[in-house]
């Protein structure tokens, strides 16, 4: 089961849990499982049924350009990080 790392700002939604193992083969499915267990996660991450534009998904340390559609496997680490580009 992939492991989702909960940012400090979201820990109030997970009763302080920092790492949560969830099911799912994509980030979207993993988030759905998280939402079922910890209501409110989705609102924190989503806007208009999409990931907020200032949030990016990193799977195993690599920021995914396809975000919620990114495949995750049993040992994947999933992080929600700030989306940045640069100058």
């Amino acid at each position: 089961m992939p492991i989702v790392f909960i940012p400090a700002a979201m820990k109030e939604l997970t009763a302080g849990a920092a790492e949560i193992r969830v099911g799912g083969s994509t980030v979207r499915e993993a988030v759905a499982e998280l939402e079922a267990a910890y209501p409110g996660i989705r609102d924190w991450l989503f806007e208009d049924n999409r990931l907020k534009p200032n949030i990016a998904v990193a799977v195993d340390g690599v920021v995914s350009p396809i975000g919620l559609l990114q495949h995750v496997d049993e040992n994947s680490e999933v992080h929600f990080v700030a989306a940045i580009s640069g100058g």
């Binding site: 940012p7 534009p53 640069g86 100058g87």
Partner: protein, 766 residues
């Protein structure tokens, strides 16, 4: 690599290619050096009108009324516009490549609606037959202001009783909106480990506060645009920009038009460094064109550039680090408040992601605050947010080294981030070159060279930038003479036409000279994100590689067709197609290209990419200075820049980026600042008074390119445009400290600041 082998410009190569890594002439070189390249100010066309923008003389005021009637009555005036000519965007939020932004913020920054939030804020614009007439007409516009007190720094703006810039701006805290109306638009936090336990286990704790000034990117070419709102309601814009698609999308959003009705042609660009990503005058020129029925050109003056476009944030930072007596870093805490300028969006988020990126520290807390102040709305500037942060962190790291009696590079080596190090914001680093950069610094003869004489000192620092991927598109057509035409959408700022062309050439076994690269308008290529985030050589390069592979595959099929075999019977090696059946049959790329028209369809390769696998880049500096203890002037005696390029596609351009970034970092460090009076007026809005370094101020910037291949790119490339600006202010602060024994806590470290620090050290009372 032995010490003796270091040259002024070194490439520590790890892998060789046929084209990549060489130094061909740049494709646009002749046009650039002969003055034939077309920049935005060169654009001209029949019926062209000239636009000018009226700007606020006040830093903070409510607009009571704008009377444009006298200007409209001017015989040479064709149009006058104000913010009310835009469609009201309501609360609509848009993502224009720089994160989610309220469209009203962008619209109101382009032309102020009900408040001016900084001196230089655009209020109205005029189009007239000549620039002289337009400027005269501006004087006829009557604006009645109700003055409000300005607030100019983050700490002041964060006070409970501070004047509010936006009465409806509610702070977001930890990702969630609150009801608190504030100048603080956002507060975020990163946590790792147990910060209290980490400090409890430390043998030495160093805690300091720092300030950095508002600094402009200082691109030499001012903003410019020409817009034609055609009779068919289609809008064509010629502009100097890092992001033609960003200009297209933003202009379309502000004007409430479909993106398909806006076409943007990027002209050549005379520097940007992040400052030419936002939109300023393009929608204004479009409105003026629509009202006047003429194409309208606007070219900013230098004062308009400095007062009316986005510099990088000033900041107030607090850094606390705890270490064991052997130098092991145990805990680090950062409090970062960045000035966003007039509208939310300070680069504090990346600052927070970079502040401790160079170090593997088990316990970290980072708090960041995005604070609006009465200064121009800030924009990206080369590794935005990271330079401020590194100035603070790297100064503290050096103080720790000094207090522990450990060599400052050994301290960095001991704690350096590496593959697998978990960042404070969560993910683990992939393969990175932090260790290799510091090792190269340690091994470089500069580091061990004697530095003799009074008031001389040496400083070091390292820095990091993530770099970006983002979408890019590329098309390649094969010409019958054996050359290829490459079409891309990335404006070329640092030689990227060539670095992109070289990657296609490598795939096709061609010399770079046989590639003809063109940067085209938004109707002529697939979506391509900004030339920013050090992404073009990586991402557009990948698009070129994929398009070249597409061409190669089609060429193999064509050779197979000509030879009457299946395509797997053809092999391609170094620009030559070989028949695999043991015969001598072979065709060069040129020989096959000459037969395309008579053997089938034209061959066109295409690719669109949005690649993962971005490789972050670490950088470092060793700098020697001499400080005049009578005047506080800092003279740089020697400067060596180090950076991990993954693979330097064109080493000369990598060196150019390293030298350019270093010089800009030196400007941050020693001279540059928005010098504001109490009313919020910038007192130095010319390049005579806004003092950027010139060649007369600097020694040669020696460079060492380190190549730690990025596994996310076929040739190993990492972006190189930004990380180089990050360490110079800290390296110079550490060198000044080493020279005269004063810890510098403020940028710029100009003579006034250095003398102040020296006097304070000597116990002066005033």
């Amino acid at each position: 690599m032995s010490e003796q082998s270091y040259e002024p410009n070194m490439v520590l190569s790890t892998k060789e290619f046929d084209v990549v890594g060489k130094r061909p002439l740049r494709h646009d070189g002749v046009d650039k050096v002969t003055g034939r390249a077309i920049y935005g100010a060169d654009v001209s066309m029949a019926g062209l009108m000239h636009g000018a923008v009226l700007r606020s003389p006040h830093a903070h005021a409510r607009i009571k009324s704008i009377d444009t009637s006298k200007a409209e009555a001017h015989p040479e005036v064709r149009a006058v516009v104000t913010s009310t000519d835009f469609v009201d965007p309501g609360d609509k939020a848009v993502d224009l490549g720089e994160g989610l932004t309220r469209l009203s913020y962008i619209r109101n920054n382009v032309l102020a609606l009900d408040k001016v939030l900084y001196r230089g804020h655009a209020v109205a614009a005029v189009a007239a037959a000549s620039l002289h007439d337009a400027l005269e007409a501006l004087k006829l516009i009557e604006v009645e202001y109700d003055l409000l007190p300005p607030v100019l720094t983050a700490p002041d703006a964060m006070k409970e009783d501070a004047p509010l810039l936006h009465e409806n701006l509610r702070m977001t805290e930890f990702g969630r909106p609150t009801d608190k109306v504030s100048n603080v638009s956002d507060h975020f936090r990163h946590e790792k480990g147990d910060i209290e336990q980490g400090f409890a286990e430390a043998d030495l704790i160093v805690e300091r506060e720092f300030d950095t000034s508002t600094v402009h990117q200082g691109y030499i070419e001012p903003h410019n645009t020409t817009a034609l709102w055609n009779n068919d309601d289609r809008i064509h814009i010629w502009t100097s920009t890092q992001g033609p698609f960003t200009i297209r999308d933003t202009t379309a959003a502000i004007l409430d038009k479909p993106v398909s009705q806006v076409r943007v042609t990027p002209t050549e660009i005379g520097g940007g460094f992040g400052g030419k990503i936002p939109v300023y005058i393009d929608p204004v020129a479009a409105l003026l064109s629509n009202k006047s029925g003429h194409p309208v050109k606007i070219v900013m003056s230098r004062a308009e550039v400095l007062e009316g476009t986005g510099p990088t944030p000033g900041s107030h930072l607090k850094i606390k680090m705890g270490v064991k007596s052997d130098g092991t870093m145990m805990a680090a805490q950062a409090w970062l408040a960045y000035e966003a300028g007039a509208y939310p969006g300070a680069m504090v988020v990346p600052g927070g992601m970079c502040v401790f990126a160079a170090y593997d520290i088990p316990n970290v807390t980072i708090d960041g605050y995005d604070v609006v102040v009465n200064k121009p709305s800030t924009a990206a500037y080369r590794a935005p947010g990271a330079t401020n942060a590194a100035f603070a962190t790297e100064s503290v790291v050096n103080e720790i080294a000094e207090k522990l009696g450990i060599d400052p590079l050994d301290l960095r080596l001991k704690n350096a981030s590496k593959e697998g190090t978990r960042r404070a914001d969560g993910p683990k680093f992939p393969r990175i070159g932090c260790l290799e950069v510091i090792e190269a610094m340690k091994n470089h003869p500069h580091y061990s060279a004697p530095l003799e004489g009074p008031n001389r000192g040496r400083g070091v620092a390292v820095g990091f930038w993530f770099n970006a991927g983002l979408p890019s598109a590329c098309n390649i057509a094969v010409n019958p003479d054996g050359t290829i035409t490459l079409v891309e959408g990335s404006p070329d700022i640092g030689g990227t036409r060539t670095s992109v062309a070289m990657q296609a050439a490598e795939v096709l076994g061609l010399p770079a000279e046989k590639v003809s690269p063109s940067v085209v308008d938004t109707d002529s290529v697939g979506f391509t994100a900004v030339t920013g985030g050090s992404r073009v050589t990586f991402s557009t390069g990948l698009a070129a590689i994929e398009a070249a592979r597409d061409v190669r595959e089609q060429m193999i099929q064509r050779a197979a067709k000509i030879w009457g075999v299946e395509s797997d019977g053809v092999e391609f090696r170094k620009g030559v197609f070989h028949l695999k059946n043991g015969t001598e049959n072979r065709m060069t790329f040129s020989e096959l290209a000459a037969q395309i028209a008579t053997t089938g369809d034209p061959i066109v390769g295409r690719a669109g990419v949005n690649p993962p696998g971005v490789g972050g880049s670490f950088s470092g500096n060793i700098v020697d200075v001499e400080v005049d203890p009578e005047t506080g002037k800092v003279t740089i005696l020697r400067f060596t820049a180090f950076q991990d390029a993954g693979k330097a596609i064109h080493p000369s351009y990598v060196e150019g980026q390293m030298q350019g970034g270093s010089v800009q970092g030196i400007g941050w460090a020693l001279n540059e600042e928005y010098f504001m009076n109490a009313e919020g007026k910038m007192m130095n809005s010319s390049l005579l008074d806004y003092r950027m370094p010139t060649s007369l101020d600097l020694p040669m910037i020696d460079t060492v390119i380190i190549e730690v291949a990025n596994p996310g790119h076929p040739f190993g490339a990492r972006g190189v445009g930004e990380a180089n600006i990050v360490p110079p202010p800290a390296a110079l602060a550490n060198a000044i400290n080493n020279a005269v024994g004063v810890a510098m806590n403020r940028l710029p470290m100009n003579p006034v600041a250095v003398m102040g620090a020296i006097w304070e050290k000597n116990g002066a009372t005033d």
